[in-house]
């Protein structure tokens, strides 16, 4: 089999990235590692939201709920039995879960599957609704999930949350999961099924008249999306080690919507770029929320200030790039090769004395 230039370039790029991530994992301090891991987690959130909204046109606001399901399942499956005993000191954990302890991979996958099942269960009635109503319904379901987490104490430990979740998540896990998520999503949206989803997004009535089963294709987008959101939730739980229901309030969904819009509806590249920029900027802006002094002036820390700045940034992006940073464009090797060619020829004309290599 002969490999095309682009396949070879992709393979090389993957190897280089994997190598860099391995180096980073070995030498970077935990603080920076955490940021890089979060970049991948938020990228998965944005890519999956793009699949549901950017490609299938379903304005679903259930991401925080799906992430919560994945996070709790992965956490409960990876917590050691002794940790569980110390976590559940108010009410003991249900016997069924008390002694399970699974390796990370199956825990993540099961978290994804359960999130996908919950997502599909929610989608079942919600998909009968359109537009704003779908948004309101899924937002409501997402809050119901959170309230269940608070109240199902023997399983979730209620508002106390779960502590001491093993910190399994490292760069290879998080970026590896992102790679799988990107691969599956890209292949899906480029396939005949994805074409049908995009048709549904553009015009439901016409799509149905052309034989597209609306429910089936929306459901597919939901199930795949919720699966990866669940996996990302699991990655998050095993990264931050402590989760409670408050982590998954609806503002998480709003952030994801904002990131995806910023990156561009219908651009997976845009989702990854925007998610990474968002995560990094949010960290850089952290000092703003604590007290600081400029000269003789002492400014008290304003909690939530970072979100204000993020919202302003989002507005600016939407005002100047109405379709987000990337629009519907994707990264492609042809683009890179063209760019390099252009730069080269630009150099040639710029410096006349240069010898052509």
């Amino acid at each position: 089999m002969r490999l095309s230039r682009n396949t070879i370039l992709t393979l090389i790029a993957l190897l280089v990235i994997a190598g860099l991530l391995a180096l980073a994992q070995a030498f970077m301090n935990p603080y920076l590692l955490r940021i890089l891991n979060l970049c991948a987690v938020y990228s998965i959130f944005a890519v999956t939201f793009n699949l549901i909204f950017g490609y299938t046109g379903q304005f679903s606001l259930g991401h925080a709920g799906f992430a919560a399901v994945g996070a709790y399942v992965a956490a409960l499956l990876t917590l050691s039995p002794s940790q569980k005993i110390s976590n559940f000191f108010l009410k003991p954990i249900v016997p069924l879960l008390a002694n399970v302890e699974l390796p990370f991979l199956p825990a993540l996958i099961i978290g994804g599957i359960v999130a996908s099942l919950v997502g599909s269960l929610i989608a079942w009635p919600a998909l009968r609704l359109r537009g704003d109503y779908l948004a309101i319904a899924t937002l409501g379901f997402s809050e119901i999930i959170r309230i269940l987490l608070v109240n199902m104490q023997p399983i979730t430990n209620g508002a106390l949350g779960l502590k001491g979740i093993p910190a399994y998540t490292n760069l290879l896990w998080s970026w590896g999961a992102l790679a799988v998520c990107l691969f599956v999503t890209k292949r899906l949206v480029d396939s005949s099924y994805g074409r049908a989803m995009r048709a549904v997004r553009d015009d439901e009535v016409a799509a149905e008249a052309l034989g597209v089963n609306l429910f089936k294709h929306k459901m597919m987008a939901f199930a795949v999306s919720a699966f990866f959101v669940g996996v990302a939730g699991g990655l998050m739980a095993n990264l931050i080690s402590t989760i409670d229901p408050k982590v998954f309030i609806f503002t998480l969904t709003y952030q994801i919507v904002g990131i995806t819009v910023m990156g561009g509806m219908g651009s997976l590249t845009g989702s990854v770029i925007a998610a990474s920029l968002y995560t990094i900027f949010l960290e850089l802006l952290r000092p703003i929320e604590s007290q600081f002094t400029i000269g003789s002036l002492t400014v008290p820390g304003i909690p939530g200030m970072r979100m204000v700045i993020f919202s302003i940034l989002l507005l600016v992006v939407i005002l100047f790039y109405r379709k987000g940073l990337m629009g519907t464009r994707e990264f492609s090797w042809d683009w890179v090769v063209n760019l390099i060619r252009r730069l080269k020829s630009g150099k040639k004309t710029g410096s006349s004395g240069e010898v052509k290599s």
Binding site: R187, L188, Y193, A209
Partner: protein
């Protein structure tokens, strides 16, 4: 011979408004039949009933003997009815060729997993869809637009593209809702020739809505006229032109206008 399409006492009510009232008709295979009537007389509603967008309040609709009343639109399309819309409804985010092959998706055998993994079976089907889609565009003179955005096409070509897209589903019956709407008389004439070409090459049955009688006179051997949701006349162009009720309906309509 069983008719290809049969509507029996079909009524559609929207609240207090009866858009279609006790309407019956039959279409034989291979026919090119027109449905005309004044503004708001219920023509589009009849198409929406046939294609499953609306469920009849009363009555039944049969396709080649199968009762299709109450079936989902995509199921009905799978059984062999395709349509275009009065207002162009192309997929703006898909290029011209993609617009067409969406219509082939319903015949896809490969499941979503093999599509994501690009298994050989799926690859073969995808290649075939692109190839037959391209052939379809060629036979309708649209091939040069294949990779363009549909909205960049001239208006008349967009209308043709909608027809091409409907044909991609391999229909037995093609419903065209005012395909010549908004066209100049000469463009409308050309489109009617195009429709006759389609009828012959694809061995179809075509049911065609038109607002103006004049446009269909030349090409449709049979014309059905409705007014206020009710069947008022049926016959060849000459009979229709001289029918008192038809003249009254059209004059009455223009009185109000």
């Amino acid at each position: 011979m069983t008719p290809l399409l049969k509507m029996v006492n079909v009524t559609k009510r929207f609240g207090g408004l009866t858009a279609v009232n006790n309407f019956s008709t039959e279409l034989q295979a291979g026919e090119l039949c027109a449905l005309i009537g004044p503004n708001g007389s219920g023509k589009t509603t009849i198409f929406n009933l046939i294609t499953g967008i609306y469920v009849p309040s009363e009555g039944h609709i049969y396709l080649g003997g199968d009762d299709i009343s109450g079936k989902r639109p995509d199921v009905i399309t799978g059984m062999g009815i395709a349509r275009t819309f009065q207002n162009i409804r192309l997929f703006k985010g898909l290029n011209v060729l993609e617009n067409v092959i969406v219509g082939k998706h319903l015949r896809l055998q490969s499941n979503v997993a093999s599509a994501v993994m690009r298994l050989p079976g799926y690859d073969r089907e995808e290649k075939e869809m692109r190839q037959t889609g391209m052939e379809l565009l060629e036979s309708l003179g649209l091939a040069r637009f294949a990779y363009d955005e549909p909205t960049s096409l001239p208006y008349g070509q967009q209308r043709k593209l909608e027809i091409a897209r409907a044909l991609a589903t391999n229909p037995r019956l093609l419903l065209l809702d005012e395909p010549a709407a908004g066209m100049s008389p000469s463009d409308a004439e050309e489109l009617m020739t195009f429709i006759q070409h389609v009828l012959k090459t694809f061995e179809l049955t075509i049911f065609l809505i038109e607002h103006q009688m004049r446009v269909v006179m030349g090409i449709c051997p049979r014309i059905i006229v409705i007014d206020h949701g009710e069947w008022i006349a049926e016959g060849n162009p000459e009979q229709i032109q001289n029918n008192d009720r038809v003249i009254e309906a059209y004059l009455g309509a223009s009185d109000h206008a």
